[in-house]
Symmetry: C2
Subunit: 274 residues, 2 copies
DNA sequence: GTTCCGCATGAATCGATAG
DNA sequence: ACTATCGATTCATGCGGAA
């Protein structure tokens, strides 16, 4: 099977027009949060966030297959002591565009940012909003089943990325090495709460989310040969994981430095696939 | 110290009028979810939920002290394949009433209800929305500190003596440099994600939330002798826990059977206090 | 070849200070 | 009064070099 990765350098509001309608199986993305990544996206103000995003979600609605899924990773920031409402406003407005707000998954970040304040604790969770175009969509629940018992989460978390790469070819999907240890164990379906640590530490580039996050949703909502889109590619975590899992990938990134980084990483993934 | 428990039988829209304004330190409640508990509040339809709740939150705003906190345990249900929007609409509307949406805590239900559906997984989290009347409110963070993570045990135990002596002034403000700061520390502040199992005991009445849930918020937002209010008392979990923790309690319940159950349970708590 | 330890680094938030 | 910048505060993780 020939797997492609199409990368576009530019503003996704423009670049998305090049993507064919009803062609994408899964959109997984983490758009710049309000007031962050100022240099690349001009630092969207919280009050302007919905207005800024709606034209993009309109395009995403166009390119997604009717059976496809859109998963967006987002969290509202605190503005003058309050949680801002732009995320929940966005949900309301996207529904007016025709999106169905199917589910809200919870990403529990085990290693959240530290800090102490007189009026709040550390924020250790983010939203993963699932949107669909219709009630019936493709979902491969068996692909993300987990062994009974809570030890599984720990095992998965501690697998190094090299371990995962090495064994992917033989297993075809996901978490590789430890699969052998699951044989004979009873498996259950997971819940809508995901426990993953962020990848910080001193790598050359640290992504905003760990590879296991897009991996989980790619397994759940696509099969091999499907098309995965990330309109805010960043350093290309989603695209890279998609290709490794034998899904086609489309990535858009406005910032040349990130775009090039993504391209480099894809090269090494390609070599691995051969 | 004399601790009271005032229980009212009736519709909280009426009974709340009997509560003095600016008198309550913490409101902790889990209102009937849309379409559930049909017999008590007439089975509020999801589309009417906000409209139904706003007069109540208006009264709650009146009775709460300016330094007090309102915590509401709620989760939107699925209606025709979508998460309904009544919860996020409620947030928007309560802000118009003057409430500040300070924070959204996450209750991760470790043993959530079993089940399987073709297009979604088990729902294992609920929202705990924190509202306040002003930016400054009472919060006793030290009361809910938790043991430090396992990482510390392994690592700090073996710190060399030079590491322990090393002063931080020479290195600047780097937190990581200064590991010695963590020697002897056993407690850290929690995050905004709470991991509590639901109580599935075989009592006659199963509460909608475990006792540790109101306990955690009562510890965090009140001190002994303060007043805790639950306008949807149910079988009285919040009221009972409050009294046991030497906080005064006010509870309102519309359904006589629950009201009586709460009264019974309070009697035994009283005996315990003596 | 393990295990152990030093260390940088996070989608943070508040309060004070400065323009 | 309203915005921009800066310092202070705080944990958990994985990499890489050392034992």
């Amino acid at each position: 099977m020939e797997i492609f990765a199409k990368l576009y350098l530019g503003d996704c509001r423009e670049e998305l027009k090049k993507v064919e309608e009803n062609s994408v199986d899964l959109i997984f993305t983490s758009p710049p949060y309000a007031d962050s990544r100022n240099k690349t996206y001009g630092g969207i103000k919280p009050d302007k966030y919905v207005e800024w995003f709606l034209p993009i979600s309109e395009e995403l609605l166009r390119v997604l297959k009717s059976t496809g899924t859109f998963v967006i990773n987002i969290k509202e920031k605190v503005v003058s002591g309050e949680r801002h409402t732009y995320v929940i406003e966005l949900i309301m407005e996207m529904r007016k565009q025709g999106w169905l707000w199917t589910e809200e998954f919870m990403w529990h970040k085990k290693n959240c940012y530290p800090g102490k304040w007189p009026n709040r604790f550390r924020d250790s969770w983010e939203r993963l909003l699932q949107f669909n175009k219709q009630k019936k969509f493709h979902m491969y629940q068996e692909a993300v089943m987990i062994p009974v018992g809570d030890w599984a989460e720990d095992r998965l978390r501690k697998l190094s990325s090299t371990d995962k790469i090495r064994d992917n070819s033989s297993v075809g999907s996901g978490f590789g090495k430890n699969v052998s240890k699951w044989v004979g164990r009873e498996k259950v379906y997971p819940t809508n709460v995901l426990h993953f640590a962020t990848e910080c530490s001193n790598k050359k580039h640290s992504a905003v989310f760990p590879e296991v996050l897009p991996e989980w949703f790619i397994k759940l909502f696509t099969k091999e040969g499907d098309i995965v889109l990330d309109p805010f590619m960043g350093s290309g975590t989603t695209v890279k994981v998609a290709n490794r899992m034998l899904r086609n990938a489309i990535g858009i990134e406005i910032f040349p430095e990130y775009y090039n980084l993504a391209k480099e990483q894809l090269e090494s993934t390609k070599l691995y696939l051969l």
